[in-house]
Symmetry: C3
Subunit: 435 residues, 3 copies
């Protein structure tokens, strides 16, 4: 039996939290009122009215009432899923009981919210037995109100060493008849509290990057048919840093990320989708520089690499403080090593279609050629590179396309923005390829 995903969305790009009750405002529900009305790229795939850390302890009962009234009013129209975060703590039974009572209240059909609630987020879980305690409360809530068992999905925040270890047990535990852990949906890393639990410290007080935690979360999601989401990126003004974190996450198979603001939601909804235009990267020292494209040529205008020509046999290429004297072929070969191509959505769809045609014609592998004219210090050089595509390459290319198709299917409110980005033709072909 394959790993089945017991939920609608195959991918989640964005996990956006909003405080449920803010003190000192005319309307304490202000933040979730406005969040509930986000649409398009500003609206997250999963919206989390946050009745835990984002909301002061004294405001949490009021937060529950706010969730109910806002979701009852706006839930039907909200384009993403809705998963309020409850209070919970592996070491505090009274907190767990409070979370249970809040769930009972929100899920009461008389309150008119539960039909728009997709599930709840449980923070601060411990080992697998603690996850089962939360699951049991979901089951009781469902039975109390005649909801189908397992219909409320459960997402957890992994923010302790114990919970990280539990990620290895999910696949075996989820099948047991004494629980309903098949309701699991998102595995979300919570690096702030995880750092505290692990006693991690850095000189500047920044959070450690915890690569192994993110790997283990992604692997746990893969093995149990769930979805992995990275934790919050605190410096909301550092867009570049947020993007780099997402690139690093995707190389670990973790495609979703927490968002703290609608601007972060836009970034995180957009970034994992292939770019509208392809681009060449030039690696100089440690950094990859994206070359600027003008009239079909790719231009480097930084200072880390310089190039001058004496004659066809004598090119001087200076990279940092290293100087190479090269003939034209050696120059090409050196530049090929220093460059890489980032394919656009159009490029990926093209290559996949080409491979599908070749496969139909009985070929198992074909070469895809990528060529470009680079311009460095005014010197033009044509480069060309082949990549072999076989079934495995094709399948790997399918990951961003599958993501796109999932977004296109579930987020009709983003269709206009996607067509603005890619053009109607590319969007159309991208929804067809690979099926």
């Amino acid at each position: 039996m394959s790993v089945e995903r017991h939920y609608d969305r195959e991918f989640v790009r964005t996990f956006f939290t909003s405080p449920t009750a803010v003190e000192g405002e005319d309307d304490s529900a202000k933040m979730i009122q406005s969040a509930a009305q986000l649409r398009g790229l500003k609206a997250p795939d999963v919206w989390v009215p946050d009745n835990e850390d984002a909301t002061a302890p004294s405001m949490r009962d009021e937060g529950v009432e706010n969730i109910i009234s806002v979701v009852a009013e706006h839930g039907a129209e909200f384009p993403g899923e809705i998963h309020p975060r409850m209070v919970w703590h592996r070491e505090r039974p009274t907190t767990r009981y409070q979370g249970f009572q809040h769930m009972l209240q929100i899920a009461n059909p008389d309150n008119g919210a539960v039909e728009h609630i997709d599930g709840f987020v449980i923070p601060e879980v411990g080992d697998i037995d603690d996850w089962k305690k939360a699951d049991e409360f979901f089951t009781i809530v469902e039975n109390e109100y005649g909801l189908e068992e397992g219909s409320l999905s459960m997402s957890v925040i992994v923010e302790s060493g114990e919970a990280e270890l539990a990620l290895g047990d999910l696949r075996a535990e989820m099948g047991k008849p004494s629980n309903n852990l098949e309701r699991l949906f998102l595995l979300v890393d919570g690096e702030v509290d995880y750092s505290k639990d692990m006693r991690g410290m850095t000189p500047t007080g920044e959070l450690p990057s915890w690569p192994e935690l993110r790997h283990n979360t992604s692997r746990g999601a893969s093995a149990a048919g769930l979805i992995a989401v990275d934790g919050p990126f605190d410096d909301i003004r550092d867009i570049e840093g947020y993007r780099e974190r997402m690139i690093d996450n995707r190389a670990k198979g973790m495609i979703g990320i927490w968002s703290l603001t609608p601007s972060q939601v836009v970034e995180a909804n957009t970034e994992p989708l292939p770019p509208q235009t392809g681009s060449w990267l030039l690696t100089a020292g440690d950094t990859d520089i994206e070359l600027e494209q003008t009239n079909g040529k790719h231009i480097y205008d930084g200072d880390s690499v310089s190039l001058s020509v004496e004659d066809d046999d004598t090119h001087h290429l200076v990279v940092g403080s290293d100087e190479h004297t090269l003939d034209r072929d050696e120059l090409r070969s050196e530049l090929l090593k220093m460059t890489a191509y980032v394919p656009s959505m159009d490029d990926i769809v093209d290559s996949m279609e080409e491979f599908e045609a070749a496969k139909e014609a009985g070929k198992g592998a074909i070469a895809m050629t990528q060529s470009a004219t680079l311009v460095i210090d005014g010197v033009e050089i044509d480069i060309e590179t082949d990549r072999m595509w076989d079934e495995a390459t094709y399948q790997a290319a399918m990951t961003p396309i599958a993501l796109f198709q999932d977004v296109y299917e579930h987020r009709t409110d983003q269709h206009d923005e996607l067509e603005d980005r890619y053009g109607a033709d590319v969007v159309n072909r991208a929804t067809q390829v690979g099926n």
Copy 2:
């Protein structure tokens, strides 16, 4: 139930090993004689008379006698804990039996040492069943001499793939009634033998850095309420390398490290505590340079970054071989990206106190501002950065303070040195904050 730590110290900075019997000396106990008399920053948190690898096999029976006589004489006065390392091997029953006999001898109350012995260190453990064999010998020793069961703590050296895997089982196994694994204390990585067991090789013969092992050890400690300690750093002259390793370890939540010499003990006792003065780091290329502070200004005098001014709208900033032309605001924003502040103990205590006052006044989050005047090539620029502090930031800042408080409580012999370092006022406030 929370993860409880079954021992006195919440933190261990230093794990210092000394050979128990050296051949060819007048007094074969010379090394442990002098180690037992270390005080203050030169004395480790955990002292390990090492009857395994540091002592020749032929000298190990004599080593046991030396441990007994030295600990009986100096143990009462020694300011840290005392945990002799016994012989043990997951693949050699005779070695295990020898280790058991040595423990019986050292723990015999007639010999006058055991009242100063806090536990034993067991090297070369295998999977969890092997740890249980060692634990059973501890239990027998305790019962033989009427000591309380569990009173001798057990620390292990993780130096095999099997032992690394066992780190994931500890939390579940420690609760079982058929063992006394609650006696566990330190999880210490032993990278030399681990490299052999894993067949790790590097071109120069240096040890691999094994980041995943250190993560797994730290996580195992977190999940089971134990303390993680990194292995020996062989190049005892490379102080800078030792410090860098400790910074890397702390970002993994591994605060303790092995020390081979009293100089390393001083480094490792000092390094994890916050610095006495704050400093600004400037990142140029790959390296962080600590700026020199003179008259309240922070001065960069390296060659990797240069700065010149034409007028307020035209600053030339050269970083490596990249040149930027910037106006004053762009320059500030560029420098903010390149700099980071390392807070002092005083800074941390200040911020925590400020947050505690804000919380009492009903605020959940406040901005802490950090400003400085940088000087690069004689050009002065004022920069200023805000950081939002909420409950989670506060809790994370608590880790180094909790370490300090633990040191202050358990190491009265270091009080003078700590007051010399920080001043009596900061020490006093640091012991109060957060409680």
Copy 3:
């Protein structure tokens, strides 16, 4: 009981796959015909006629016949082990049944191939219960034909999150009486399909490097007495990249690697063995440059480091854009930090012999000195460094020597090439040392 390896070879450097049946060729067995006749450094330690991904689905029945005829003809003479790869998939029972039928056919003694078959490779395994299904088919095949139970070894391709998790269970599962998992041999990472299963993505479409997977595979091998092998390196023209990957793998204890071509086999058979001559590395910025040796001096002729002398107290050393003014001793000390020595096979054998002699004379640790004359911009500087050798250093140095001895014992077809490389004297001493 120690971890016993249930197979002949202690090390496997190379895992070379060949398509079993190619469409459109006169002889569809052409590729395995030529692979079966490779000898010396071009012949892999483990040869894998690949009836899975390298062979089109429609050709796989013919592939089985080709395996049988080629192995029956050439198997007796082939210098490495032979492990055909069968079809298998954790989520597809019909694929598993097809793999079983192919194994029954190949192992039928009437077909004359099985006496030269060492085992089978099973791809796309899932969790440990899926491994047991494959193992059960091996057992049935063995019993059907009167082969000894466990005589056919089983290697797996780890290419899913579930299989990665299973690596932690092997040691406990292999001892159970209800399976024959002691037949396990190689744990091979398959990063292409693993990336798909984990949903890993990179901007350029390159594979993520998956460091944690490789660690976990290597650790699983260490804990269960098996051998870890890294997956294919697709860019077969990038020899430098292939070598760098192997260096990174060895630092993780993963000594074997997949090879796609005989040229990659030569590289992967050679690279893990110590070099024939030692060399000095100079670290400048991020890169280690191997110094060129001429007349016993080690010459740096790059542009990243420059050196000039005013007088004995004034040397200008420029590294990147940092300039140091140093006296002769400071210069030596600075250069020592920037250099490292890569020992040759001869150096390693020398040091081990020297340590063995010292140990016999009752010494536990001795200093090994390494000295050299460096030449930078025409300036000569003598440097000298000591390294302490103790039993642990000696044991760690044994890893490459044990590899060499294993190769020498099992690959007599490579003796000539090894003597050409190292000289007969070094080869002879290297086969003796450490025993």
